[in-house]
Symmetry: C2
């Protein structure tokens, strides 16, 4: 499946949930409108799921949701760890949407001894030693990295060494990782610079 299609699947799922229970079918036009994607792209993207809709009727909403969830691997909940509990880690720990999105935060971890034992959103912050043990015990494969930039590579290396295969990296550092590990970087400077490209390209 093309990378751009994969990156739009969560959006379609989110839109279907936003459209709500009142509709049993949804047209590609309606989905395109909510998602802000053109409807030919929507049909093309969904055809990769084997979902073609019915001309003049659209897609069965519940079936399409189920197909999207299967494609995204959301039929079971993924256990996830959050590593680094500063402001950003706390913000993510407080995020209420993990469960509905298909994820289960099994623990929050920090290297700072003064933070260990404190609670964020009802969860106790644990140590880096606990992190290693918990990843092995719960066979965790996904980690959210919210450490300072300087610590990110070292922590990532440790995570990989104990079995983590996917990292969502919020630390502003480019990680060197084995090819077997999938990493997505969320970087504030990058996002702002992409916007500033479009700002600077506006006709004046």
């Amino acid at each position: 499946m093309p990378k751009a299609t994969v990156e739009r699947l969560p959006l379609y799922l989110q839109c279907l949930q936003a459209i709500g229970d009142s509709e049993t079918t949804v047209s590609s036009d309606a989905l395109a409108n909510v998602a802000g994607v053109n409807s030919a792209n929507v049909r093309k993207d969904l055809s990769y799921l084997g979902s073609h809709g019915v001309r003049g009727v659209g897609y069965d909403r519940l079936e399409l949701c189920a197909q999207l969830r299967r494609a995204l691997g959301l039929t079971d909940k993924w256990p996830v760890v959050i590593v680094g509990v500063g402001n950003l880690g706390s913000a993510l720990a407080n995020y209420q949407g993990f469960d509905a999105s298909g994820f289960n935060v099994i623990g929050l971890y920090d290297a700072d001894p003064s933070k260990i034992g404190a609670r964020v959103d009802g969860q106790r912050i644990k140590s880096m030693e606990d992190l290693e043990l918990d990843i092995k015990k719960h066979e965790v494969q996904m980690a959210i990295l919210t450490t300072p930039a300087g610590a990110a590579q070292e922590v990532a290396d440790m995570l990989v060494s104990v079995g983590i295969l996917s990292i969502l990296n919020f630390a502003p550092a480019l990680l060197k990782l084995p090819d077997t590990v999938k990493c997505r970087q969320v970087d504030l400077a990058t996002e702002l610079q992409i916007l500033s490209y479009y700002q600077a390209s506006r006709p004046t």
Copy 2:
């Protein structure tokens, strides 16, 4: 310029900065290696800047930095506002890289009267009334939205009404905006679901 190229330009700039001052030239292979992009793609992307490098030598590092900064509209600093000062807004306000990335946070704003006057990283949290005045006074065009999901659309509408043209939206809500406004959404659930797609697609 293709969207995928635009989205890689900040990465190249970051890599060139990571490579550091010791090198006067940089090859597409070296850049490809740091950026984790293949070198043919690097050359193609940079050709859109009119930058072709010299066979066997590479690119002049400083000139390439300058070209990237010009393309990204980073020759002047963009004034930016942060709206919503919860954990996430505080985390972003504490981010030390704005200045180096080409941005100047001119203010933090929140609708909660109990927060107004408190300081985050030395900046005083101001009211939504101040926000409107500051945007007009400083001709701010870029905003970072870190409100709760339920408030995001209303705040975005207000931002647009007073002149904001680019929004970096961290609130987990799909915004309806005029076509003239560029929005980038950073959404935790989306990022995790993209990772889980690749996790679920792994050969077992």
